[in-house]
Symmetry: C2
Subunit: 393 residues, 2 copies
């Protein structure tokens, strides 16, 4: 056995041992996850954030819960039902899967979400602040599935468009618009399904905390893109791959956004079509795309948000002086657990960068989501904060 392999196996053993120790002291207050399929008792979550799954597989040799990059062994009872728990997970939303005798499959108990390049299981670990994206009896906007022809892609593409409550009441009113991007391995359904962007906005608008605006969500991935329904099956195979596989930095998606999507939205929705009322934001890869596209097009977007997706440095500003001049809001955010192990990337420390730009006179905000990592709860909170600042200057 090589030294490297030995080290790897030791790490795996250590990790599994910790999980098993965890499982022995688990608190027995498990409740079905809020994103289970109707009537399904499992998966469940307890007050520590441990996930318990259960599956009937009488003939299986081994069943595992695969969550947070750790596989937890389940145990089988006399009826062939397998049960097991994970270690505590951070609050918020996590993708996971089950593994039955070597086969990774979705949990038949959960609802399904598009992430990690697939439709698969998700679970919600309750948080103290989850009221901000809860479904309440307030006026609701609409989340519209829209098909439009993209000349850059030479095909019909799908977007989701959130229109705020009252959009169809007053036909003389026009709205600002936010172009909001998902992360790598996700698609245009992410901000609605996992992010609850529509409910975050409905609640903020009901409380008078946000200017009502339209949100446009499109698919900025190349590799993972695929409509969730209908016949347009060959849409992705023919498109060029970006430098990081699914990561299309600023190539085709920039063309789709600037040449097709924005003109479509401005021709078909009551938006205010100037840069003062046009925002771009995104999470992770979507934040990095926002960074590249807005630095290169400060005449198009005056409001910019990057959620766990890099920051803007003084050097960037020197290369793009119009960005400093025209951008009226620059919002940078991270989960606190991300900052514990900073991913500075090529752009330097995001907090220092953002402070330096503020010092230089820009309206910048740096937000930290406490207790969360590179995951959806960081981004829901980021949208909640960003939406209270945007289009107010």
């Amino acid at each position: 056995m090589s030294k490297k392999l030995f080290l790897l196996l030791s790490l795996i053993t250590l990790s599994v041992s910790l999980c098993m120790a965890q499982a022995q002291t688990v608190i027995e207050d498990f409740k079905p996850s809020s994103v289970n399929q109707g009537g399904k008792e499992f998966p469940q979550v307890n007050s520590e954030g441990c996930v318990r799954v259960q599956l009937s597989a009488p003939e299986a040799k081994m069943v595992q819960l695969d969550i947070g990059a750790v596989k937890y062994d389940l145990t089988k009872d006399e009826n062939g039902v397998w049960t097991g728990e994970s270690a505590p997970q951070d609050v918020g939303f996590h993708y996971y899967q089950l593994n039955i005798d070597g086969s990774s499959v979705p949990d038949p108990g959960s609802l399904y979400f598009f992430g990690a390049g697939r439709w698969g299981s998700g679970i919600e670990i309750p948080s103290d602040d989850q009221e901000f994206f809860a479904l309440k009896d307030v006026p609701h906007g609409e989340l519209r599935e829209v098909q439009y022809f993209s000349k850059s892609s030479d095909k019909v593409r799908r977007a989701y468009i959130y229109t705020p409550p009252g959009y169809h009441k007053d036909n003389s009113k026009r709205y600002p618009v936010l172009y909001l991007q998902h992360g790598m391995g996700e698609n245009e359904t992410g901000w609605g399904n996992q992010g609850h962007a529509n409910l975050i906005m409905d609640n903020l608008i009901a409380e008078g905390k946000a200017v009502p605006f339209i949100i446009v969500m499109e698919n900025s991935s190349v590799k993972f893109e695929r409509p969730a329904r209908n016949a347009d099956a060959d849409s992705t195979q023919s498109r060029p791959k970006g430098p990081m596989g699914g990561f299309d930095f600023a190539g085709e998606f920039k063309n789709v956004l600037l040449n097709d999507l924005i003109p479509y939205v401005e021709a078909n929705y009551r938006v205010i079509d100037n840069s003062k009322n046009r925002a771009m934001a995104g999470l992770s890869m979507g934040g990095m795309q926002t960074r590249i596209i807005t630095l290169a097009n400060p005449d198009v977007f005056s409001q910019v948000g990057m959620f766990s997706g890099g920051s803007v440095s003084m050097e960037d500003i020197e290369n793009a002086p119009d960005f400093k001049k025209n951008v009226k809001l620059l919002f940078i955010s991270y989960g606190s657990r991300e900052l514990e192990n900073p991913r500075r990337g090529p752009w330097g420390d995001p907090k220092e960068n953002t402070a330096a730009l503020k010092e230089a006179g820009m309206n910048t905000h740096f937000y930290v989501s406490e207790g969360t990592a590179h995951e959806w709860h960081s981004w829901r909170r980021s949208l909640y904060q960003f939406s209270q600042l945007v289009f107010k200057n």
Copy 2:
């Protein structure tokens, strides 16, 4: 072994033998299904309509494909990859699942659809006429996810609302509206995801074959109801069960529809709010609900469609004379395979019933979907036919 058990086992053996015979003569022109997840090679369909699935499960003892109420055994290769085929399936859409060592799970290769009371795998067997629901470069309407407060249910409910192309262009134009119901074990997502109602309408309107109208899709099940996202998790458990479990004949859904949904739609969308411009239709259970609700409320709906969901008899009309007087279109349809083994139900033969009403002076239509059974392709075709007739008299 009892005689009954022996007979049952013989039938199972016969059925499996037929499938295996089928598999031996399978035509090797399999292609990935049009409703696969992006980039997934399996499941596949060949020109005979056989379904081939493939799954890596190195440690599994047995893997099966479960489709059309038959379980087909897969075989394992030296790499632990299981592969197998079904017998030929009817054209159109079918729910299916995989079974790994006794555990029924979704196929990680397919997109997921809500049917049979769960989110699970679906497959599309190509048909000669699939162009009528294909995604084309024509003007597209929108499929809107809408939340509204229902007093009858005392909660926020979800509906999907299709608005035709051009709806937001001319704010003086008002539209007829169709309330369109899914079947048992399905929900408000079915007509969009499996039925492609929006694409059927976009294509018909582009060809000038249908009057543009709004379609409203809500959840008329009790047992299986559950929002696909967000926090409203306890919505179903508290509601009374109908006489057939999930089948809420005309109880709470009637109240939701008449007292909450129609008033919401008429207050918030540009619809023509009279019975002449109000239609109700549905498939299977939704057809039977349409039957009960429209017979009892002929002052509300003048256009009625029942797809594989019963018919209206002369006796019904005698008990509801206003139905005969007010209803301007009665459309009844079935898949031809359903009529081979007629399910007449308590309402008599649907074709004879419909002919008798025509004879009596009603504008009735009886449509048969050739080569399809009690499945979505029958209902897509029914909607395609119905939509060309509705709101024209």
